[in-house]
């Protein structure tokens, strides 16, 4: 029998279907207990509308693999960060034409600094590799993505924002 952790690790994210939940970093723990399987997940954003689907997909996958007693638990802390996206996840994002996030911002003590103007220009184009691209909009089709454009190949693309 395939282990519950291996089963859970194959489930993909509904919004970024090229990534597994494990590669996205939202699958935090899979534990087989005497009573069944307990899976722990964390949302990317507070309002993530996919949590319901993710929970259902995990339960279906585990049931299909013979784990009838499974439940999914949510944790909020520590809050998800894009640093948890794995190397294979980043490679798959690029292959899908989505620029992966850079390192999440590290904050000094004190108030959150205000960013006026563009955060960074050094997001590489996932299509042609041009190093410097421009931001079109800070918010994209899902909470975790922004829209950018490449000045070299002129193609628009999405970038997973660092949080």
């Amino acid at each position: 029998m395939v282990s519950a952790a291996e089963v859970a690790a194959t489930v993909t994210d509904p919004e970024l279907p090229m990534l597994t939940l494990a590669e996205l970093g939202i699958l935090r723990d899979v534990r087989e207990t005497g009573d069944g399987v307990e899976v722990t997940i964390t949302p990317t954003y507070s309002g993530c509308p996919a949590m319901e689907t993710i929970r259902t997909d995990l339960l279906h996958a585990l049931h299909d693999a013979g784990y009838s007693q499974a439940h999914v638990r949510t944790i909020l802390a520590p809050a998800w960060t894009t640093d948890w996206i794995s190397d294979s996840g980043r490679a798959k994002l690029v292959a899908a034409g989505i620029a992966p996030p850079g390192p999440a911002p590290r904050r000094a003590a004190g108030p959150v600094p205000l960013v006026l103007g563009v955060r960074d220009d050094d997001v590489a184009c996932p299509r042609c590799g041009e190093q410097s691209t421009e931001r079109l909009a800070a918010f994209g089709a899902t909470a975790c993505r922004e829209l950018r454009r490449c000045p070299a190949c002129r193609e628009p693309f999405e970038h997973v924002k660092e949080i």
Partner: protein, 289 residues
Amino acid sequence: MSFDDAYQALTDHDDDARWAYGTGFSDPLAGVPTALPEGVDGADLAAYCLMIGDDALILSHRLQQWVTRAPELEDEMAIANIALDLLGQARLLLTRAGEAEGAGRDEDELAYLREPGDFRNVLLTERVDADFGHLIARLLVFSTWRLALLDHLSASRDPVLAAIGAKGVKEVSYHRDYAAGWTVRLGDGTDLSHQRMQAAIDAVWPFLDELFETHDVDARLAGVAVDPASLRAEFDAVLAQVLSAATLEMPKAVEAATSKGRDGAHGEELNEILAELQGLARATPGGVW
């Protein structure tokens, strides 16, 4: 679950559990420990969660009303994203309120079945936006204030509030940067945009003081809640920075609005929001969609 194209994803309706749109979501705090921190009164904690949860719920609804009306597609997506983040925060906080209250009310019951006088949002969140400039001014003030609040909340003695605060900081940082960016673009734009952005900032000013008033509930929950009075200096510094970059004037002190949203004294605007927000749930008691 993966799809070859977006259309396939949209038309795949063989499993009703996949998407939920209105009520009947599963608990967003499923599995998060529900115990109250030692020495904390459940009624006070519930009241506090409603205060900062209703702020997010009501402003989220106002932002949703901009969808299909924003000046650009990119801004429509931005506003919808911000609304979704706030709705997510509201769901967590209302759920926590229900747990702390201990009377069996869930997020749906709190959102859909309370009377206007039971809502605890600040008046700033329920206003109608006269134009896009007013929306931006309101969002700048709200997100600057809420970012400071959530940041302090991440050190709360209540682990659930602390987690909601830490998570929200990441989201609201983007909201504030968005509003600040537009404030600068409009303020430092044409004569007309400058004039209208200044008018929008002036219009929002009477609603500021309520944000920083220490409520009895805040005072009783020292260490758990954030005393809003402690946020004023940080707020003023950020506003000064944005308004200066936008070539806008900081309004002179104005007479504050007298009504107190935190005590349930709201304007007619809240009734309009609730009529829209609650109409379907009240017309179909127990209905799930």
